[in-house]
Symmetry: C2
Subunit: 108 residues, 2 copies
């Protein structure tokens, strides 16, 4: 594969990989409703704040979210609302799989 093509798939994979964790998906979903500070997200997620902070930095590093410090708090928000289309894509796959499983069960 040509290096430039390879690089393109790697760039895409980095973004998708960043989304590939339940906690990070939850965070993206939550930020779609509006900005949240780390503390708020930590309470919702129910993990250590350092853990949540690291998840946030993963998403930030690939450009999915951005942060803004105001006073003591750091507020995060989606950098592009388009990222939400991910959920639609994923749901379609899950639906297809579920439907075919049902069909397989019924045809036995």
């Amino acid at each position: 594969m040509r290096p430039s093509v390879q690089a393109r798939y790697e760039a895409r994979a980095r973004i998708i990989k960043a989304m590939g964790h339940p906690t990070r998906l939850f965070i993206v979903d939550e930020l779609a409703k509006g900005e949240r500070c780390v503390n708020e997200l930590t309470e919702m997620v129910g993990a250590d704040m350092s853990t949540v902070s690291k998840h946030l930095s993963v998403l930030k590093n690939v450009g999915v979210i951005m942060d803004e410090k105001r006073g003591l708090q750091v507020f995060y928000r989606l950098r592009t609302p388009c990222i939400m289309k991910f959920f639609g894509c994923v749901e379609s796959v899950m639906k297809t799989v579920a439907e075919e499983s049902m069909a397989a069960l019924n045809s036995r």
Copy 2:
């Protein structure tokens, strides 16, 4: 977080995670053009066949692709073409990030 909600995010994350690898993205992209056997994909990817086979099983396990054995060969194809929307989502993010980087450079 409620267990059912948690489970939902985990199910989504499994699918996204399966897509989060450059080789697997390439495979999905290629299968979007039509079915391919393992051998063909292996040549295109340029890795060991066992490696490609394992990537295929990752995608298959989450329901993104399906296989069919015909003679000596195993042909893989997308289970739902909808999976291709992923690329559009990802490109949008990359575009946004690139544009904002440019803007930041120009405003210095």
